[in-house]
């Protein structure tokens, strides 16, 4: 509301200026001309969404792992067979949220299961065309899934392990508009995996034009070129400046409200705050686009509103079990009792997060906080250290990522309390790349880590974080045969009751083993002008701007 006033005021002052200029001797017909142009400019502004973030496009190859900038662009310029469905949030006009196991049709107009769920049949929507004019067919579906499985990207890791498909023969074209995925066994995660933005449907004719002998899937070409077919076209990608998306005129659904999405690269967080306060941008996105402290400072700012919903991102203290004393469960438990979580929540998260009570996010099916037992208790921590033989404490390095404000602040809170039980923690700040290298090599002693599961499924989450075979993602080097067995046996279990019970059992063991230092679950927070609506938050956290609109 407030923003509209400001907006109009500006318009009026310009108009007043024009009248004044007219009075100064400009001929009347002439002064009408700029006025019309001005109105047109205002209308264009109305239909343009300007967003500030701090990410760029590293690659546009759908099958690759990408930066947030790359993923968000892909999610807007292509279409997937299905989407995670979103439902309106009560009392939050114009905002939408995914719920577990809800999907909406996109290029696949319907789906069904066969062979007890081992086969998923997708019916391709008829009459949809790629920008080239070629129709979207089951052959295009197969080509795109084959490409994911066989091209040197990231889907070639995901598809075999999570969809139990390791041969292109399992992707079957039944007729021009029927595509079937014949998995080895049914899995409750199948639709979630299909909904990943990596599985966008590509126009095979266009890809084939750009293949070479050594690059049969045109990965080089697709890195920088978009075939499209989604609600928006990528019209400009100027690294360090901006990315511009424009509505796709030939889209199979009605055109989106915003004709242009301008994504401005603003690397400095202080600038992002200032831009919002001045209403020079409509919204700040990214992860983390704004730290909780800055979001707090924007509360009540006239003309702005904050949209914050629970998200599945987990923040935790990772304790490397290959490095003593963290191989000792009592030490890990002591760390958990020494984390001043009651102080961290209000002073670092400012209400934009929830305390972590289980290794599984509180939005995920089978989440069970009942086994949670850790609370801030230095006496207990001291006693545990004594039992572990570290009565005098020890010195350790606590690694954090440079520039991640909540992690830096939480580290300082913990450092102070650790000191009281004799643990001297040196805070080591590392750039993202250094941090990740040390993490995967197992060089960290303890560190503050974060993890977000794109698929909101307990076993997807547990597999990556707690299975001893999940090298590179099980950053604690936790190894418990009982947990491995429970995860592997229930990964694709279709009896959901049994599966959820197994998940609860794993949660209980992981809490007892104090694998993580339990910190918090993030909120997904966006700050925007009051007239921006229609934001949809999905499991993968990337914005699809198709549903966004402006309303006075």
């Amino acid at each position: 509301m407030k923003r509209r006033e400001g907006h109009e005021k500006e318009g009026i002052s310009r108009r007043t200026f024009m009248k004044w200029a007219g009075g100064m001797g400009l001929a009347l017909p002439l002064s009408n001309l700029p006025l019309a142009a001005l109105r047109k400019a205002n209308a264009a502004e109305e239909k343009t969404l300007t967003v500030a973030w701090d990410t760029e496009i590293d690659t546009l190859d759908p099958a690759s792992f990408k930066t947030i900038g790359g993923y968000t662009t892909i999610a807007n310029v292509y279409d997937t067979p299905i989407y995670w469905g979103v439902s309106p949030i009560p009392n939050k006009d114009g905002f939408f949220l995914s719920k577990p196991n809800e999907f909406t049709p996109r290029l696949a107009e319907s789906w069904s299961r066969e062979k007890g769920g081992a086969t998923i049949v997708l019916k391709v929507r008829k009459g949809v065309k790629f920008p080239t004019g070629n129709p979207v067919t089951a052959q295009a579906f197969k080509y795109s899934f084959d490409r994911g499985l066989l091209s040197p990207g990231y889907m070639r890791i995901v598809i075999p392990s999570l969809l139990t498909v390791d041969s292109p023969d399992q992707f079957e074209v039944r007729d021009d508009y029927t595509f079937a995925i014949n998995m080895k066994k049914p899995t409750p995660m199948a639709l979630d995996i299909i909904a990943l933005s990596n599985n966008v449907i590509l126009d095979p004719a266009e890809v084939k034009k750009n293949v070479t002998a050594e690059d049969p899937w045109a990965t080089q070409w697709l890195k920088r070129n978009v075939i499209g077919g989604g609600p928006y076209n990528l019209v400009k990608n100027m690294p360090g400046v901006e990315i511009i998306l424009e509505a796709n005129k030939g889209y199979w659904q009605k055109p989106p409200f915003f004709e242009r999405i301008v994504l401005k690269f603003v690397p400095n967080e202080a600038d992002r705050v200032m831009l919002l306060k001045r209403k020079a941008v409509d919204m700040v996105v990214g992860r983390p686009g704004l730290s909780p402290k800055n979001v707090k400072s924007l509360e009540g700012e006239p003309g702005l509103k904050i949209f914050s919903v629970p998200d599945t991102t987990c923040h935790f203290v990772s304790m490397n079990q290959n490095k003593p004393p963290y191989d000792n469960v009592k030490v890990r438990q002591a760390i958990n009792y020494a984390i001043p979580i009651e102080a961290i929540m209000p002073n670092v998260l400012f209400g934009y997060g929830r305390q972590m009570k289980s290794p599984v996010p509180d939005l995920t099916p089978s989440y069970d906080p009942s086994a949670s037992k850790y609370k801030f208790d230095l006496e207990k921590a001291k006693a545990l250290l004594k039992e572990a033989g570290y009565e005098k404490g020890f010195t350790t390095n606590l690694a954090i990522r440079l520039g991640w404000a909540p992690h830096e602040q939480a580290a300082i809170w913990m450092q102070r309390e650790f000191e009281k039980i004799g643990i001297k923690a040196n805070i080591v700040k590392e750039t993202d790349a250094t941090f990740r290298q040390a993490m995967s090599k197992g060089d960290h002693e303890i560190s503050i880590e974060s993890w977000q599961s794109w698929v909101n499924d307990p076993f997807y989450h547990l597999q990556f974080n707690f299975n001893s075979k999940a090298k590179g993602t099980n950053v604690n080097f936790y190894s418990n045969p009982a947990v491995d067995k429970l995860i592997e046996e229930n990964m694709h279990e279709t009896n959901l009751e049994k599966r959820n019970a197994a998940s609860r059992q794993v949660q209980k063991i992981v809490i007892e083993d104090a694998v993580w230092g339990f910190l918090w679950y993030d909120n997904w927070t966006r700050v925007m002008k009051t007239d921006v609506y229609g934001l949809e938050k999905r499991w993968d956290t990337f914005e699809r701007y198709y549903g966004a609109y402006r309303k006075a």
């Binding site: 400019a41 264009a44 502004e45 343009t48 300007t50 500030a52 760029e56 496009i57 590293d58 690659t59 546009l60 690759s64 792992f65 990408k66 930066t67 040197p152 990231y154 890791i157 995901v158 890195k223 920088r224 100027m238 690294p239 360090g240 400046v241 901006e242 301008v262 401005k264 690269f265 603003v266 690397p267 400095n268 202080a270 600038d271 200032m274 831009l275 306060k277 001045r278 020079a280 941008v281 440079l402 520039g403 590392e430 750039t431 993202d432 790349a433 250094t434 990740r436 290298q437 040390a438 995967s440 990556f464 090298k471 590179g472 993602t473």
Partner: protein, 338 residues
């Protein structure tokens, strides 16, 4: 004959200098912790996937092979690929150099245009109120870090008064960039008579250029003032004064001209400093130049752009030094004899 030999020798010396620079930049980024393949491969990469990635990126080869590949690439104009933008580094550089050059030239103009007159006035009216004021301004410029000056100016002129444009690049959104000849938006829009782009680009240029210009004005002012004082107390000025020449002519005619000779060197050094020292100002103002690029690349351990940035700044310094030497050689025959 002497001059061309001097030039030839001078140019020849550039080659080992640049080779040394490439060796240092390569070694530095090689030693820098952080494996670019890990960043590229993503968090779910298996060790096999990672090994493949390293092989693709040539990271499994011995260091001297990697250096040779880098060096021969540079010679062909191939600076490698940026992993954060997915484009060839050369392309990223060509897009960003004009932005940095424009900012550098503008801030140099501000520093020289304001700094030299200020210095002359404070030298002539030594210990006056004006002299002290200049000293305070000068020291302030050095003492205040540029990110601080930048944020302060942004806060006052953009946030508080709304006079300056948002720190979102070089033009307002909706203003198409002028036809490109030099890549300097102000110059290009002047050349094409595109006054809308000219206004917008000047508007966007002002605050960052002032911030940067202010930071280098101080050493310039101090040096010009000191040299001016020295010159003013020399015998020939005294002789001129004794002959009753007007003060104006003495100061601006004789003294200033002799003062400016060492200043040429300083301006050269400042230019080099600005081309590389833009980093912070570019970051604060969202200026899409190479400094901004270098910082973003450093954060993601994007090795090739960092190497290229250091290489670029070194080349600028080498060229500036060469030009200064040549200018000196032309101006002062004694230098050539050495």
């Amino acid at each position: 004959m002497g001059l061309s030999r001097y030039l030839f020798k001078r140019l020849l010396m550039v080659i080992p200098t640049l080779l040394g620079v490439t060796l240092i930049t390569f070694t530095l980024t090689y030693l820098l912790p952080g494996n670019p393949a890990i960043v590229k491969a993503g968090p779910f990469a298996t060790p096999e996937h990672l090994a493949l990635m390293e092989k693709e990126m040539g990271l499994d080869r011995p260091i001297y092979v990697q250096y040779w590949r880098y060096l021969s690439g540079v010679a062909r104009g191939d600076l490698g690929q940026s992993s954060s933008t997915g484009r060839p580094v050369l392309e990223d550089f060509l897009q960003r150099i004009p932005a940095t050059l424009e900012l550098t030239l503008a801030s140099l103009m501000i520093a020289v245009g304001l700094g030299i007159p200020l210095a002359v006035v404070s030298a002539v009216r030594r210990d006056s109120f004006l002299d002290h004021a200049c000293r305070i301004v000068g020291v302030g410029g050095v003492a205040m870090p540029t990110f601080w000056t930048g944020i302060l100016l942004l806060y006052i002129f953009f946030y508080y008064f709304g006079l300056a444009p948002p720190p979102l690049g070089r033009l307002s959104s909706g203003v198409p960039p002028p036809a490109s000849f030099t890549g300097l938006y102000t110059l290009d829009s002047l050349l094409t008579g595109n006054f809308r782009a000219l206004g917008s680009s000047l508007h966007h240029l002002l605050l960052p250029a002032v911030t940067l210009g202010f930071s280098v004005m101080a050493p310039l002012t101090r040096m010009v003032r000191a040299t001016m004082l020295e010159v003013l107390s020399s015998d020939y000025i005294k002789a001129a004064e004794a002959s009753g020449l007007p003060q104006r002519q003495i100061v601006y005619g004789d003294a200033l001209r002799n003062t400016l000779i060492p200043v040429i060197t300083l301006i050269g050094v400042i230019f080099g400093f600005l081309m590389g020292g833009n980093v912070v100002v570019e970051l604060v103002f969202g200026w899409p130049g190479i400094g901004n690029y270098a910082v973003t690349s450093l954060m993601s351990k994007d090795a090739q752009p960092i190497q290229s940035f250091v290489l670029f700044v070194s080349v600028v310094y080498v060229l500036v030094n060469l030009l200064v030497d040549i200018a000196y050689g032309l101006a002062d025959p004694r230098i050539r004899l050495r």
